[in-house]
Amino acid sequence: MIWVVLSLLFLSGPVWAGEAKPLADDPVAEARLKHLAVELRCLVCQNQTLADSNAPLAEDLRREVRDMIAKDMSDKEIIEFLTSRYGDFVLYRPPVKATTALLWVGPFVLLAIGATVLVITLRRRAHKVVDVVVTDEEHRKVEQLLAEGGKRS
């Protein structure tokens, strides 16, 4: 009896292994789709890429991209297809344009402002630290005090 159960268990292994279907028959096309889809934003769940999202629109768009790959269109043509319909918003790396200038330059502008403020503050602080002139009288007093301290211990 136990042998029957065991053999069934082992035999069922390969059957289960067949369950997970590949997304497409062509692994090269699928690799291209993945490569493109991680660069594209899903418009329904805006913080997910087209590759991650399970939204029906994302599925449809993956289907469209797959079709375009099958038609041997270039990455540029495919991205143009999507931006002409959904705008630059679908791109996770927006192009450098007048409207996106602040987005690209903004962090560097902030960095420059921060650096300027830092330099100015440091310079001001440097001015505040003035060399104190020690007179001979004071010098002698200090030495005397130190000498006394040495004797006590």
Partner: protein
């Protein structure tokens, strides 16, 4: 006093920016299609599946194209607004049944009334993709030359209809 002036002014500017950010709707993505010719399509009609619905038949007219579906929640809120607009007869509304089951779409129109002059069926969602639809309902105002003039993302409400759609349609009809 002077010590606090700079941080305070920076704080006020940041609050200002964040405040503006709160009033913006991240779902309203400006469509690159506004001002461009509406994409071509020829889809089967919902009632008479043998017949074709194509925007070419509507050249010379100002019309609305409304993407909807029986499974769509926003369409429920929008439906009475469309019914009122259709009754007023100010602009013809054409429907595109987006990724829907035929039976359910027919039941929907039977229950809530049919505001559409004609309904096309976009079962695979391809027309939707060509129009840059990413969530139903979406409504497009298309002029006499077949150019998209306005895109409404999400349900139309009486206020938008009265303040944006109707004045735009009237202006386009004069052209």
């Amino acid at each position: 006093m002077n010590r606090f002036l700079l941080p305070l002014s920076i704080f006020v500017v940041v609050v200002g920016f964040l405040g503006i950010g709160l009033t913006l709707n991240p779902r309203e993505i400006p469509s690159p299609l506004v001002g461009k010719a509406a994409p071509e399509f020829s889809q089967p009609q919902l009632y008479d599946q043998e017949k074709i619905f194509s925007p070419n038949d509507l050249k010379g007219k100002v019309w609305l194209l409304n993407f909807w579906a029986s499974w769509c929640n926003g369409c429920k809120t929008e439906h009475p607004v469309l019914m009122d607009l259709a009754k007023s007869g100010q602009v013809p509304i054409y429907g595109m049944d987006y990724k829907d089951q035929r039976e359910e779409a027919l039941t929907w129109l039977q229950r809530g009334g049919n505001p559409y002059s004609l309904v096309g069926v976009d079962e695979a969602g391809r027309v939707g993709i060509n129009f840059g639809v990413y969530g139903v309902p979406e409504t497009y105002v298309i002029d006499k030359q077949g150019v998209i003039r306005y895109k409404q993302i999400g349900p139309l409400d009486p206020d938008t209809v009265a303040k944006k759609i109707i004045p735009l349609v009237k202006q386009l009809e004069l052209q």
